[in-house]
Amino acid sequence: MFVSTEPAAVRDAAPTSEQSGILAILHDWVVTVDHKRLGIMYVVTGLVFLVIGGVEAFLMRLQLASPGLTLVPPDTFNRLFTVHGTTMVFLVGIPIVFGFANYLVPLMIGARDLAFPRLNAFGFWILLFGAALLYFSFVGGDGLYGAGSAPAVGWFAYAPLSERAFTPGNATDYWNLSVLVTGFGTIATSINLIATIATMRAPGMTLGRMPVYVWTMLTVSAMTLLILPPLSAAQIMLLLDRFLGAHYFDTQAGGSAIIWQHFFWFFGHPEVYVLMVPGFGFVSEIIPVFSRKVIFGYATLVAATVSIGAVAMSTWAHHMFTVGMGGTLNSFFAASTMLVGVPTGVKIFNWLGTLYGGKLRFRTPLLFCCAFLFQFLCAGLTGIMLSVAPFDWQLSDSYFVVAHFHFVLFGGLLFTIFAALYYWFPKATGRMLSERLGRWHFWLLVVGFNLTFVTMHFPGLLGMPRRIYTYPADRGWDVLNLVTTLGVPIQALAVLIFVVNVVYSLRRGAQAGDNPWEAWTLEWATTSPPPAYNFAALPPITSRRPLWDVQHPDDPDGPHE
């Protein structure tokens, strides 16, 4: 309770030890409470796990490349898709999304740091601890029982399958604790972001002048407060079942086989928006700058963001059409799912309206945004298809669904993350990423991604279920699966080029200067990288584009808003 709220990061400015060299640098990063350093650590952690989760996916795709392969044994395959899913959602999506928010939100609203810097550090380190728990299960998951290592229950771990009777050993417990613990960190960070946005905006930074990205993070943080604790509650119930002999999900004692699905998806579906909406925020910041225009329809964009957050809370059971909920519930969740497509469609028009008539600068961030527009539209359309309950009955748990959500999270989210990395890398490091390597990265990723995931829809339509480790040759799935797998090395090469680009540009990249993209939001008003205190002096904030007003005192934005 008596946590001091003083901006503790002040101490970062002073040298913390007399030593120099690697140990001193490491010490500085470990003890830091600076939102910028924590943001970078979050994002780097997320990217490291992106590579790890990608390797797991690569192994699965190798096994599925042609029928009847025995490269990966069936139980290992189960572990791979479980850990791949958990990694990508909890250790890649969440750290990168909240890492960017850590870095950008205080800068964009002209604040010194987040509201609770120490709580922020706690959020990061507990997340890293949760990640260690999940991956420790590969080593320690055997426990005393010798029954499997690494969880093999799928990333949504449906109970009663995940009960001790069906999944002995401790691997599932590591999964459980990992998700529980990372959840605590995410809740803490969400509270922090809300408190920061609510109370620490610079003078003049009214809610109506906040960058759209800050609005998306406010929405997402509020959603997180409502959806993550229910997941924690379900995890606690599963732990009670597994360790204390409770019967929450024990059908033999009268427990329900369905209620876990409700609890999980009450978290799990809004979670998709928690990951995706910040991506919308990135795009809403980047497209105007590279179109040299103000964002088209700021108010509708913000309203659409908040609406998505609200409607997304009541769509969860569209993951459960096949469990037999009855016509009324099926209709309700089908309708709410279609409804959430409306504000999402509004946003697409906002972005197109911004691009329309703009002086487009096709630099790497805009390239990624354009690919995002096409791919996310496809993802949304297959989403509307799957919201039709009878269509879902046909295709639930097929590769069509797998292709759909990879289009959302890879073709949508990951492309916006790369756009954001190219856009804000100069701010965080003071160096530009190479455009030449960036274009290679972009085109290889577009080709590889679409080769893999456009193709993946078709075996699903032809009846190929997800989570099978192999398949017979006579189903007509083999060529499609081979093509799906062939896209993977292309994507891997693209990511490798990105890594090379980062390493090269950190040493040799062109100096960025304060505002290399001629952008208008506050983070570009300070130096690159920003000092520990962020801003020596803030420009006056009288509109949504303070830096435009500084550069064009004869034509300020204020009167037009």
Binding site: S190, L244, G245, Y248, G254, S256, F263
Partner: protein, 185 residues
């Protein structure tokens, strides 16, 4: 900086929203499983209305509010006294819960694994009790600080935030009491 808005208040509101969401799921699970136990004992066989404990906890909301108000007015000793009364009332509530659990577990042999009623009863009431314990730790620290002289009028907002948390714990008890001892019995 916007000097009128308090980071602490915003943070505690966020925390309480998240906690509400956590409790809601345990309450939903309890409601969902009412009457679904294939075997006994059933709530009406073993539960008694904790009237006295409820009165203690609800009145502690009043005393903690009086403490916060006294501190805001600069009357530290008075605030410390009301905080101490709040702690006593909270301990009385906890003692009642402990007595109930002792009776159920040690005398009736009714545990979390007995049936669905036990499965949903102990985690819900226990989660609330753990929040009472957390609140008591914070309130006791306030009492200690009041005695040592470290608590001053400038800390009024922080004590008020503790009181918000304590009101929340009380509010949860109203829901738990209604669900477990009225609706479910």
């Amino acid at each position: 900086m916007n000097s009128t808005a308090s980071r602490g208040r915003a943070g505690v509101i966020g925390f309480i929203v998240a906690e509400t969401s956590l409790f809601a799921v345990f309450v939903v699970a309890y409601l969902f499983y009412i009457g679904k136990s294939p075997t006994g004992p059933y709530p009406k066989d073993v539960l008694e209305l904790p009237i006295l404990a409820t009165i203690c906890l609800l009145s502690s909301s009043v005393t903690v509010a009086l403490a916060a108000r006294a501190l805001a007015a600069g009357r530290v000793a008075r605030a410390g006294a009301w905080l101490f009364v709040t702690v006593l009332l909270g301990v009385a509530f906890l003692a009642s819960t402990a007595q109930e659990w002792h009776r159920l577990i040690a005398e009736r042999g009714f545990t979390i694994g007995t049936n669905l009623f036990g499965t949903t009863f102990y985690p819900l009431v226990g989660l609330h009790a753990s929040h009472v314990i957390l609140g008591l730790v914070m309130l006791s620290l306030c009492v200690v600080f009041a005695c040592s002289g470290a608590l001053r009028a400038v800390h009024a907002e922080r004590v008020e935030l503790v009181s918000w948390y304590w009101h929340f714990v009380d509010g949860v008890w109203v829901v738990v009491f209604t669900v477990v001892y009225v609706v479910g019995r």
